[in-house]
Amino acid sequence: MERRPKTLTVLSWLTSVVFIVALYLVLFWAPQEAIMGDVQRVFYFHVSAGWVGALAFLITAIVGGIYLARGEQRWDRAAMASVEIGVVFTFINIVTGSIWARPIWNTWWTWDPRLVTATIMELIYIAYIMLRQGIEDPDRRARFGAVYGIVGFISVPLTFLSIRIFRTIHPVVVGSTDPTAQGAFDMTANMRTAFFFSLFTFTLIYITLLWHRLRLQHKMEMIEERKLRALSA
């Protein structure tokens, strides 16, 4: 098996350290929010996880387009790897949002446009993974994945804009002007530091995980090819 690149090992350790720093900033550096209390600290990673989900699905759509233009399998590999990470982080985003909502909105779930669009987006990409597994031919699977990834991406801006287009109780923390939003707050300087550092940290986590996941996908395909060769020999 190919050795892990040194850069990836360094990046993995660096990401771990940066994540610990982000945890420190979120849990101790940022002040306690005056009304919501400690649960507001979840917000930093909740938004960051949502950002990684959107970024991952954007990358999926982009590499899908590249695959359709060039027909190289490595772009399909990148799409699959990115979707998987996007699904994991969107899951974190939805569940932490629900945990935050319980004390703030007094409910785990409400049929708010943001919650609904985010969940639909998650289901669209879970379906992407499931449907791909049902296609045997690698070229057909890659073509399907590319088109699905591009069309499915419509759900991402829809989710992002849902709190700006529709009447919703979900807060728009950055640039909020909606008085009906419940749980909105203004960020102090330390809160902003923790927030932007969390966004940076989660982006780094995405890059690191994507690299590991790409290597895994590559290995899986190589082993699969060797198995087929061994069977046909």
């Binding site: 098996m1 009304i35 919501m36 209390g37 649960v39 600290r41 979840v42 974190i92 995980l209 061994a230």
Partner: protein, 54 residues
């Protein structure tokens, strides 16, 4: 300031939130490591089969 209410006691929800975040990321990393391990086992088996046939 004197009459301001203290923040709501939501510490348990914060702990639950971070447990979900750390738990999910941890599980995903473990899953990737397990898949790598399984591939290494498969690779070792394939090496053996290929050595037998050589």
């Amino acid at each position: 300031m004197m009459f301001q209410e203290p923040p709501a006691d939501t510490l348990n929800f914060m702990i639950a939130g971070f447990a979900v975040i750390l738990g999910t990321i941890g599980l995903y990393i473990t899953n990737i490591i397990m898949r790598f391990r399984k591939l290494r086992q498969d690779e070792a088996l394939l090496d053996e089969i290929e050595a037998e046939h050589a």
